[in-house]
Symmetry: D2
Subunit: 409 residues, 4 copies
C-alpha cells in the first residue's frame, strides 16, 4: 500500500465534503486514517481534517487523489502545477488536467492563483508571465500554450452551503416532481429574480420552442417587458415558431388561441422564407412585417439574442450561428457576466448552456420531462432548482408574481 | 373458403366503420367482395354496404365475424341470440358473449331489444319474460340466469360522428401532449360543462391525491362551489391528504403554501387517527374539528362522495369501501346517471371508472403522465379528451373559465 | 432560544448521519454547538458526537428533536417512553408516535428494548409485562392497548454503511437510468440471490401483469424452477393474464409469440370464468385444464402465492383477497421472513409491499417508468437498487446469469 | 358558398383516404356532395370517387383544397402548375408550395411529371427544359430558379396499403409500448432486414450515444460484421463515447463491464484529444491506438460514416461536419439510396433524418422515451415501426435473430 496525506477545509461536514471523500476512498478500494480533525462548533465556524489515504498501487493512489481533489481535498505536501506545451493548435498535451465547474486554484511558483474563468470539461492554460490561469476549450488552444498536466498543485473549492438558510437554491436543492406543489417555489424564484435585478445581476433565458407552441410566448414577453430578461438564448425553431405565430397566428401549424385543426408546416416554412428575404428579425421589423411576438419584444427592449444552429433547423434564418464551434464561442462569451439562468423546455440547449456555467451561476430548469430536468440541474449542486411541469402555467405564474408589487417573501 | 354476408349502416365512411371492417378482414387473412354499396351524398345522409366476407375455416370466419360485429357489422341472415343458463352463482356459461362499451342490441324472438345498461367486459343477461337485456358482471350472475352465448343475433352500434363539427370531443379526439397549447381546449371544456349543467347532465370528478398535494384542492373546491361537481369518486389517500391539509397545513407532509422541509408521514397518520376516532368526515365536521378542505366543501354542497379502497391505504378511514367487489358495485350504481367525467391524476381509479362508463358518457382525463392519459381515454373514441399537463394549473384555469360569466365560445 | 443536547454514535460521517442532523437543524431555523466530537480514525472505528441543539420555542425544539431522532439522534438525558391507552378498537391515542422503517428501540423502565417487528407508518404497542414492543397498524389496535405517545425514550438506528465495499446495494444506492449499462449490475444481483439462497434467505417476487404481457412469463418460470422464488405476490390481473396465456396463447388479447392483431378482452374474461368455475388455480390444474404458465409453475414448485385485490379487478378469481384490510394483514404476515424482494413492473403493489418491509430487507425494483422506480426504492436507503428498463430482457438476463454455474463475481 | 370538384383514386377506403378527405372538409366548416363513387369489389380492385366540395369563401376553399391534396385529392379540372422565380439565392418566391414526404406529381405543359427526389418541408424547383422537378431546400435555391407557387397542378399520392397483409410495417403501423411483447416484432424485423439485403436494399443506422453507454456497442458491431449496416449516421458524442470505451474501458466515465464508480469526464476528454492529435478515426487506427469499438468495426467493414455536429459537442473530433447547413447537405446526399433506417436512441438525429426521408423508406425507431418514438415515426405512416424499449437488449436480440441461419418467419 502507498499513501498520501490530504487536507480538507471549510464546512466539510454539512457541505458533505468529508463524507464524499471517505466514500470515494472506500469505493476505490483504498483505506484511510484520520490523522487530525477539528470540527467547527457552530454553523459559522470552519472545520478541517487531515487524512492519510492509502491505496494498493501508485497508479490507483494517483487516480484516487485526482477524484478527492474534485471534492476539495488538498495534498498536504504542496507542489507547483506541472505544465506542458500544447503540441498543435486545437490539441492539448497528453495527460492534461480536465476541469470541473468548481472554483479552482493552481499553485504557480509557490503562489496560488485562481483559474478565471473556470468552466468544466476544459484544460487550464497558464500564463506564467502574468501569473494568470484560465480554462480553455480545444478550439482555444494554440501550439505552444502552457497547459496544466497531471493534477499536482491544483486545489478545487466545492460550492459550500451558505450560512443563509433562506436561499431557495440551497433549500430545495433537487427537482420538484410533477405531483408536488410549485406555487411557493415560484414565489421564491420571483423574489430571487427581483433581488438579482436590484443587485446588478444578469438574467439569461434559454428558450425552447415549446414556449411558443404552448402559448406561453406572451408570458415570456411580459418578463421581458418587466425587465427580467437580459439575454435570450435559443435556436432556429424558437424564432421560427415565434415569427410564424406573429405572422400567421399558428406555431408549427397549431393555433394557441382556437381549437382548430393544425395546418401543417406551411406557415412555418413561409415564416422562414420571409425572414430570409428581409434579412432577419431586424429587417422584418423595419419593413413593418413583424409587429409582435417574443423576438419583437426582445428587440424593443434591447434584449441581447443569441441563436445557435442544430442539424434539424429549417432555413436557417439569418442571425443563427450555423457552425457549432462558432456557436459555442459566442455562447461562452455571452454567458460570461450572467448570474441567473432559466432553462425553459429545451434539453439540448439547456445541457449545452449548463456545461458552460461557472460555479456561482444560479440555475432554474423547467421541463415536463423529469429526466431532462435532472440532467440539466445535476451539474450545479446547491445552485440549481428543477421543476417538472408545463412551461406555460409556470411562466404565467412567474409573471404574475413578478408583476405584483409587494415582495412575495 | 367459407363465407358470410354482413351489412353496415350509418356514417360508415367518416366514422371509419367501413375502413376498419375491411382492415379487420385483411388482418385476419380473409377476403371480401363488396356486393352492394350506397354512399350518402351529403353529410346528413346515411350510407350502407353489403359485403361478402370469406375466411379459410368456419372457426376463423366465426372469429372474424365476432370482430366485425364490434365495428357495427350485422350478419345479413337474421337470427335470434343464443342463450344458456349460468351454471352457478358468479359463473357464466362457457362461450358467453363478452360485451364492449358500445350500444348493443340483441334479437329476441325476432325483435331487437337494447342492452341497458351496457358496460364493457360483461356478459348479457336476458329476461325473456320482460323482453329486457342488461350487462352483468360476474358478481351479478345467479345460477340459472339466461346468458347470451356465441354472437349470433347481436348488433353493436359504434359511436358515430355527429353532424356538429363544433363538439370539442369529436374535434380533438386524442390526447393533447405536453408541448401543445391547452387554453383553448380548457375554454371549450368549460363551455361544455356549462351546457351539461344547464341541460340536466351530471358531472363526476374522479380525484387523485396529487390534486391536494400540488395545492389544487382549493381550485376543486371552487368547482364544487360553482355547482359543477355532482359526485366525487376517490380513494383513501385523497381524503387523508385533504384532511391532513385542513388540520395541519400539509399533505403527505408537504406544505403547499411555504417552501419548507417535509415533515414525513406523521400528520398524515394523525389525520387518519382523528377520522377513525370521530367516525369519519361527518363526525369530524360535527365536532368542529374539520372546517375546511375539499371533503368539507363536498359535504356543505351535498356532493355525493364515493370512496373505494386500495391495498396501499393507511387506516382506512371510515366510509371507504374496503372490499373491492363491494366497491365496484357501489361505483357502478353511482355512475349510472353520470353524463360527464373528469379523471384527474389518478391512474388506477381512472381506469376502473373508465371501464364502467356507458357509450355516451363524455370523459376528460388530465395527468402529467402521457401513458396514463392514453390508457384512460382510448376506450371512449369520439367521447374523450386527454390532456398531458399538471393538474394544478389545469384546475385553476378551468375554474377561472367557469367563474367568468360570459360564454367562452 | 431553548436547547437540548443530543448524541450520535456509529459511522456518523460516511453514513451521512451527522451531515443530515446538521442540515435538519439549519432547515428548521435552529442552531447548534458541537460540544464534543470523536471521529473514528479508520473505517471500522465508531465515531460519536454530542451536540447542543437550540430552537426558538419549546414546540419547534420538540418538532426538531423528533426529526433528529429519525436520523439516529439520541437525547442525552435519558427518559422512559410515554404510554397512553388506545381509546377504542382501531384508534390510537392522540399524539401517538409514528414509526419509520428503521431499527427502533424504546426505553422501558430504564431498559432499552427493540421494537419487533418494526414497520413504517405504524404505532408502537408496548407489552410492559413481557418487556416487548411491536409496530401495530390501525387494524391491530385494541381498546386499552398501551401505545407510545410523544417521542421521548425512543432511539432510531439508521441503516449504516457496512464495512464491505462490495455490497452491490450499498455500492449502487440509486436508480440506474435507461441509458446506463445494466449487465454488470444484473450479474451482481444474480450473485446476491445465490448468496441469499445458500445462506437461508427468502426471496419474494412482486409480479405485475406486464411480465406476462411482454412475454417474460417463461423467464419468471425459469427463476422459479431454479429455486430463486420463495413467495409470489401479485394481483388478479397478473393471474388472469397468465392463465389467459396458458389457455388461449394471448394475454390481454395480445399474442407474445406472433405479431397478430389483438383479440380484445374475450379470452381474458373467459379465463376468469374458467377459474371461477373450477374454483381457482388448483382446481383448474386438477381438472387438467391449466397445464402451463407462471401460476402452474408456482404450484408445482410449492411457491407460496399471495393475491390481493384492486378496484380494477375483473372477476375476481378465487383466491384473491378482495378486502384490502384483510389483504394487508396477509401481506404483512407473508413478508415477515422475507430477506430479498424483487418488485417487477407493478407500481401499486410495489409501493404497498415497500411500505411493509423491515429495515434489513434488500429490494430491487424494475420498471420502465423512472418515477415508479424512484418512489419504490427511496424508502430503503443503502438497501435497494432500481433499474429503469424493460422487465422482459431484465428477467431473461437474470435467468441466464442464475442458470450459469460459475459464480459471476 | 363556392365549390370545386375533386377526384380520389386507389384504395381510398382501406387506406383511409376517403374518410380523411371527408373529415378535413367537415373540420374546415365545408360541405360535400359525393357526385360519383365506385368501390372496388375486392382487395385488389381500385376505387374512385368524385366529390363536390363547398366552402364559405374562395380563400377558405383554396385552403381546404390544399389540405385535401395532401390526402391525394385531385382537382377535376386539370391545370398546369404555376411557377415563379426565386427572388434571391436561398429565398423562395412568396406563396411557394411546401412539400410533404409523399409521392408528388406536377402537371407541366399538360403532362404530369414526378418530383424526384421528394422530401418534406421543401419547395419544388422545376426545370422546364428537361421536364423535371425536384424538392429543394432553402440552401439549394438560386436566384431565378423556377419554383412552384400555389397548389394548382399538384397531385400527391399518399402511401396506400399494399395487398400483402404480412408486411410488418403495415401490420404494426404504430408504436409498441413498454408493456407489450417485442420478440415477435424483432424477429419480423430481422426477416425484413434479410430481405432488404438480398434484394439490394441499403440499411442506415442512426446511432445515439446511449448505444455505447448501455454496453450495446458490441451488438451493433455484430450487425456490422453480419453485413446489415451500409451507412452509419451519428454525432460527435457517439464517436467520443465509443473511442473512450475502446481506449479506456469507460464511456462518459461509466464502465459497462464492471459496477464501479464513474470516473467523470476525464477519459472522454482525453479520447477527444487523442482523436484531434491523430487526425481522427483513420489516423488513430493507423497509429495502432484504436483497435476496437464500433468506429473501428465500421472502418474495417467499409461502412460509410456520416457525422454531424451539435452545440453540445466537445472537441469536436476531426470528421464531424460542424456547420449544420453543410451537415444537412451531406446527410441528404448520404440518404438518397437508403431503403431502411434504424433510428436508435437519439432524438435530435432521428428527427433530422426522418425529415429527409422519401416516401418509401422503411423506418424503425427504438427509444425508451415513448414521446421520442412517437415523434420519430409519425411522419411515415404505413412505413414505420416504433419500439419503446431499452436499446441494449433490442440490439442484442436483433443480432441473435440475424445471426440465426434459419429464416425466422
Amino acid at each position: 500500500m502507498v499513501s498520501e496525506t490530504i487536507e480538507l477545509r471549510g464546512h466539510i461536514i454539512d457541505s458533505l465534503i468529508l463524507p464524499k471523500v471517505l466514500d470515494e476512498i472506500l469505493r476505490a478500494g483504498g483505506t484511510f486514517r484520520i490523522e487530525q480533525i477539528k470540527i467547527g462548533q457552530r454553523r459559522a465556524d470552519q472545520s478541517r481534517a487531515r487524512i492519510e489515504v492509502s491505496a494498493p498501487s501508485t497508479e490507483s493512489l494517483d487516480d484516487l487523489i485526482l477524484r478527492l481533489r474534485q471534492h476539495g481535498a488538498e495534498v498536504a505536501k504542496r507542489a507547483d502545477v506541472q505544465l506542458a506545451k500544447a503540441p498543435a493548435d486545437g490539441v492539448f498535451p497528453h495527460d492534461f488536467y480536465v476541469t470541473t465547474n468548481q472554483q479552482t486554484f493552481v499553485r504557480l511558483k509557490g503562489k496560488e492563483i485562481e483559474v478565471r474563468p473556470v468552466m468544466r470539461d476544459s484544460a487550464i492554460a497558464v500564463d506564467s508571465a502574468r501569473s494568470s490561469a484560465r480554462a480553455v476549450k480545444f478550439f482555444d488552444a494554440r501550439k505552444g500554450d502552457e497547459i496544466v498536466v497531471g493534477h499536482q498543485g491544483i486545489r478545487v473549492v466545492p460550492v459550500q452551503r451558505t450560512t443563509s438558510h433562506t436561499d431557495i437554491f440551497q433549500f430545495i436543492n433537487a427537482s420538484i416532481s410533477a405531483d408536488e406543489p410549485k406555487s411557493a417555489v415560484i414565489r421564491e424564484l420571483a423574489a430571487e429574480l427581483r433581488r438579482a435585478r436590484s443587485s446588478g445581476g444578469k438574467i439569461a433565458v434559454v428558450a425552447g420552442p415549446a414556449i411558443v407552441r404552448t402559448g406561453a410566448g406572451e408570458h415570456l414577453e411580459r418578463l421581458i417587458e418587466l425587465g427580467f430578461v437580459d439575454r435570450l438564448f435559443g435556436g432556429n425553431a424558437f424564432v421560427v415558431f415565434d415569427v410564424e405565430r406573429a405572422l400567421f397566428g399558428t406555431s408549427s401549424g397549431v393555433s394557441a388561441e382556437r381549437a382548430v385543426a393544425p395546418v401543417g408546416h406551411q406557415n412555418q416554412m413561409r415564416a422562414v422564407n420571409i425572414l430570409r428575404q428581409t434579412g432577419g428579425i431586424a429587417g422584418a421589423m423595419e419593413k413593418g412585417i413583424l409587429t409582435r411576438g417574443v423576438m419583437h419584444t426582445c428587440s424593443r427592449h434591447k434584449v441581447d439574442i443569441v441563436l445557435t444552429g442544430s442539424i434539424r433547423d429549417e432555413g436557417p434564418i439569418p442571425g443563427v450561428a450555423t457552425d457549432v464551434v462558432e456557436g459555442q464561442k459566442i455562447m461562452r462569451d455571452k454567458l460570461a457576466d450572467i448570474t441567473h439562468v432559466l432553462l425553459l423546455s429545451t434539453l439540448e440547449h439547456s445541457l449545452a448552456i449548463a456545461a458552460m456555467l461557472g460555479p456561482t451561476v444560479k440555475t432554474v430548469c423547467v421541463d415536463i420531462n423529469s429526466a431532462a430536468v435532472d440532467r440539466a440541474v445535476e451539474q450545479q449542486p446547491l445552485r440549481s432548482i428543477g421543476l417538472v411541469t408545463d412551461v406555460e402555467p409556470f411562466l404565467r405564474e412567474l409573471g404574475d408574481c413578478l408583476a405584483a408589487e409587494s415582495d412575495a417573501k
